[in-house]
Every structure is written in structure tokens, then in C-alpha cells.
């Protein structure tokens, strides 16, 4: 068991969180992408909310300016390559100074619950195979390799 499980709150993203998401993502990836995040908020924070989930985690007693602890993003994807509808997670990050406190796990559990409410019985994600940190995290949460193999090609 962890020594300190931070008391946190998980909720849907709001317009006032977008700058915080941009800041957290820039810290984690070293690459600020404000257009990308504003666009993602417009599509995932406002529309078709029954199947799109953009969730953020903050300390229980957060004030307006308190930075986010983390976020997770996913959506219901139907019939991609013939697969039955399932929940797809395509974004997850936790503040580097607040890792291993259970924040990632709570975000994962929160989005799992949303997918279940949306009628899904499976959740998928994709991780770079040399990125062991999220790979170990997702494995630790019970994920296993799925029946698909990802392929790609350099386009000349």
C-alpha cells in the first residue's frame, strides 16, 4: 500500500483548466502545444459528453489557481477495423512532482467507471514499447496485450 494517497477530486475539464492542461503537458513532454489542446477541449470538453471523457485531477481543496495533478482523456470508439465499441484512452499525464501517490490510478479508475456507464466492457490504449513507465502503469492496472498489432510505414 502507498504511504500517502493524496485526497483528490476528479471531475470533467472546464474552460478555465485548459491553460493548466497545456502547462502540465508541456512539463511532461517538453513540447508546448496550445492549439492542439484548445482544439481537443472544444471537441472533448464540450461535445458528445456521453462518450467523450476529458477528466482532470486536482487537490481536494483546490483554489482557482491551483495547478492540476493530472488528466486522462478517452472516448468510445465504435467499429474501428471491425472491433465492437470499446473505450479508448489516448492521453494520460500526472504532475512529475506528484507521481506514485495514486493519482494516475484514480484517473484510470474514474475513466473506467465512465466507460462502464456508457455500456462498454472493454478499454484499450496504445503505448510506445520503449516507454516503460506508462507500460508498467497500465499493466499494473490489469491491462494485457490486445488482439491488434499496430503497423506503420514511412511515406516517401
Amino acid at each position: 500500500m502507498r504511504v500517502t494517497d493524496t485526497p483528490i477530486r476528479i471531475r470533467r475539464v472546464k474552460a478555465s483548466d485548459v491553460a493548466k492542461v497545456i502547462a502540465l503537458d508541456a512539463r511532461v513532454t517538453g513540447l508546448p502545444k496550445s492549439t492542439y489542446w484548445r482544439d481537443l477541449f472544444a471537441r472533448f470538453g464540450r461535445r458528445r459528453l456521453a462518450e467523450r471523457f476529458f477528466l482532470v485531477a486536482e487537490p481536494d481543496a483546490a483554489a482557482a489557481r491551483t495547478p492540476l495533478l493530472g488528466f486522462i482523456i478517452g472516448e468510445v470508439r465504435a467499429w474501428e477495423f471491425g472491433s465492437a465499441p470499446c473505450g479508448w484512452v489516448f492521453g494520460l499525464a500526472v504532475d512529475p512532482d506528484r507521481r506514485l501517490e495514486g493519482v494516475g490510478e484514480k484517473l484510470f479508475e474514474a475513466i473506467s467507471a465512465e466507460f462502464r456507464k456508457a455500456g462498454m466492457d472493454k478499454m484499450r490504449t496504445m503505448v510506445a514499447r520503449d516507454n516503460l513507465l506508462p507500460l508498467r502503469f497500465f499493466r499494473g492496472e490489469g491491462m494485457m496485450a490486445g488482439p491488434y498489432i499496430q503497423l506503420e510505414k514511412d511515406l516517401e
Binding site: 471491425g82 465492437a84 508498467r136 499494473g140 488482439p147
Partner: protein, 148 residues
């Protein structure tokens, strides 16, 4: 994928010991559950001890205790004490030819996936997999890519 017997024994031994890190077990006790010879297992335990994954406890009730962190030690960490993974370091017949290099590339894909899989599964995750029953309903067969 095939693992050498020593790697298999090592995995069973560390799983058994890490299930209850305060507990100490003798080589015979571990061997009994899996039906393995104490002789081979003793050699394996010696290697695990030298690597610091387990600790030998002396005395009348001597045996071994787990001394790593089950949430951080991965299957790859254990296996690599006993065998190199994949085709690394091995020479392929026809290595110098274009065909040999093409084959090396394809085998490299398989090795990369094996390494990512074994390197991402910790002993704590293995314990969860042991406890979990496989899903009752099989996954529906996926159609071909592109057909919707």
C-alpha cells in the same frame, strides 16, 4: 516464446517468496509446490541471491527471503540473470547478406515486443494475473483492417 528451465524456476521462486516477503522458505519447500528438483533450484537461488533479489537466511530454519521490491522487479530483470533475451549477440547464418539483414530486422521486431512485455510486468502485476480468472467470454474475432 521459450524460456530456459533456470529462468522458469527463478520466476516461480521469486513469485513464491514475494507473495509474502516476511516469510522464509527453504529450497525444498519452494521445489515441492512446483515439482522441481532441489538440486537445480539451489543453483538458481544462489544466482538470485548474488543479484540481491533474494536473501539467504542462516540457521536451523534457514532458507530464503525476498529482498527486492515486488512492484519494481520485472520478469525481464529475473530472466536476464539466466539467459540473454532474443537474438542479441547471436550470429545468424548468412548475416552478411541482404537477406540475412532483412531476417535480422524482422526477428528484431519480435525481440523488441518480448522485451517490452517482460520488462513491463512486475512481480506485483504477476500476482494480480495469477489471482485473476481469464475472462469467460472470448474476444470477438476482429475483421480485416479497412473493412467496416
Amino acid at each position: 516464446m521459450k524460456l530456459q528451465v533456470s529462468s522458469q524456476l527463478a520466476i516461480f521462486a521469486v513469485l513464491e517468496l514475494s507473495a509474502a516477503p516476511e516469510r522464509q522458505l527453504s529450497v525444498a519447500e519452494i521445489g515441492e509446490k512446483y515439482g522441481i528438483s532441489s538440486h537445480h533450484l539451489a543453483k538458481v537461488m544462489h544466482v538470485l541471491g548474488r543479484a540481491g533479489v533474494v536473501r539467504a537466511v542462516r540457521g536451523a530454519h534457514g532458507g530464503y527471503q525476498f529482498s527486492g521490491n515486488p512492484r519494481r522487479v520485472t520478469l525481464l530483470d529475473v530472466i536476464q540473470l539466466f539467459e540473454p533475451l532474443g537474438a542479441d549477440g547471436e550470429t545468424l547464418v548468412g548475416e552478411a547478406t541482404e537477406e540475412g539483414r532483412a531476417l535480422r530486422r524482422v526477428l528484431g521486431e519480435v525481440d523488441d515486443i518480448a522485451r517490452a512485455t517482460l520488462g513491463s510486468i512486475t512481480l506485483a502485476t504477476m500476482h494480480k494475473i495469477v489471482e485473476r480468472k481469464p475472462p469467460a467470454r472470448p474476444e470477438r474475432k476482429a475483421a480485416h483492417a479497412g473493412r467496416r
